[in-house]
Symmetry: C2
Subunit: 302 residues, 2 copies
Amino acid sequence: MAKTLVFGHKNPDTDTIASAIATSHLLRHLYNWDTEAVALGTPNEETKFALSYFKLEAPRVITIADTDDVVLVDHNEAAQSIDNLADVTVAAIYDHHKFNFSNSTPLYIVAKPWGSVATILYFEFKNNDVTIPANIAGLMASAVISDTLLLKSPTTTEADKVALSALSEIAGLEDYEKYGLDLLKAGTDLSSRTDKELIDGDAKSFDMAGHQFRIGQVNTVDIDDVLARQAGIEDAIKSEGYEDFLFVITDILNSNSKAIYLGDANDAIESAFNAKLAGNVIDLPGVVSRKKQVVPPLEQQF
Amino acid sequence: MAKTLVFGHKNPDTDTIASAIATSHLLRHLYNWDTEAVALGTPNEETKFALSYFKLEAPRVITIADTDDVVLVDHNEAAQSIDNLADVTVAAIYDHHKFNFSNSTPLYIVAKPWGSVATILYFEFKNNDVTIPANIAGLMASAVISDTLLLKSPTTTEADKVALSALSEIAGLEDYEKYGLDLLKAGTDLSSRTDKELIDGDAKSFDMAGHQFRIGQVNTVDIDDVLARQAGIEDAIKSEGYEDFLFVITDILNSNSKAIYLGDANDAIESAFNAKLAGNVIDLPGVVSRKKQVVPPLEQQF
């Protein structure tokens, strides 16, 4: 009997990797499931920093699920999931995004509109009296820091603050602010990444009323550094064949973004963000959250 | 500011009414939400018996939601929900069915593949240290009894057994088996109901690959009593304009069913249940659960 595979979305970020590892552990102890945390891609630089710091192995990368049952974490939409999702049974979902999911059998779902899935999982462990190993707690703390930009993103909730504090204590992390800045900075060294890697790194596809939209995001400490590579980035988007691509560049120190847009929906983009495109670039002051500040206004346009 | 309305599916059964009342109470205490339990129809005879026994008022019946936020219990599919669902924000879902839900903002979802939503709610109260008032616990115990046919339906899980025992104790219900039989029998007095009331009573619409299917179910202690009304039941189905209607008649004492089918999918019905229709009636030995034994084999055909 094949194991139940637990995985997050394609182009995994720290919350997706941490949640897969934590959920696999939780389900083994809560429901006695034979689970394995896997991933739909290799960890990014930020996640590698956290895995290395807490001495955890990166999950095995899979491209199809060769099993009957799967558990989805940090996503629920087929467009962001494994290619053969339609061939397997989704037994559980742990997520903090909007929903676009249908299936044919009752299942477990725990979803909350909180800053990270790691926060939701912290409370699942706590409320069900399952102990969190110190290294997994450290990775979960990293996920909260990553998804909430050290509790500064507008997605941050009281629950995230409680979870980050408790997880840091379990992990023996004495100064999570200092660790958090090191973690976030580890994710902003873009110099070693090619233009194709930049646009693919964190991008997700969204089906907006039949319109396929792809939205990427990179964190940086200097937006101009990234914009200096605009020509190469645009070439990469075109050569990958994406017809609608919004590439959001976020300054994590000052909580602002600019975005490069290539596609045929300039009017919708300008209306959504109430600003003008100039040379394919639009200014997004105060925007740091794709989920809360980029996707909803775009969805309203489609 | 309008309250958040909490409601279950159309044609409410005991689990839907009990879960709306229990969830409204839970959310007031857990998240300090200003909630009101309402219903999309009047209680059936079984639910009236439980409400009266535990001295609770039936929830106010609404036809549209005149509020910004709603909470769905015991359903998640638009076809079973309030008509203006698309105009409101779904803030939370507590359910134990298959999913067919999409929205545009992150939300709370607690779903588990257990026998009743009341069971899921019992553990939500317990794990979050919220006290269940005795009369609400009694109504929740009634919901577990109703949805699991006194723990005999194949939908029954260990969690349902634990919940029914604990809820009975909180409610001061000394003999839940005796109470349960009285409750189930209260729901089987069909003599006072018209043919139209019979087919509408518990019916739900299912969208199976674009095919609109309607499935009703009545519980009885004598299937032949109900089949004696077959001509009138068929007339009611036709005069209501339903094109595909499966009317399941379940013997709750012996855990068997027969069904009347009117529609153009005779082959699919016969394949789904591996039996022949005779005079529009098909034998369903051992079938008591629409969710677990009727809907899944039909979905496989469409």
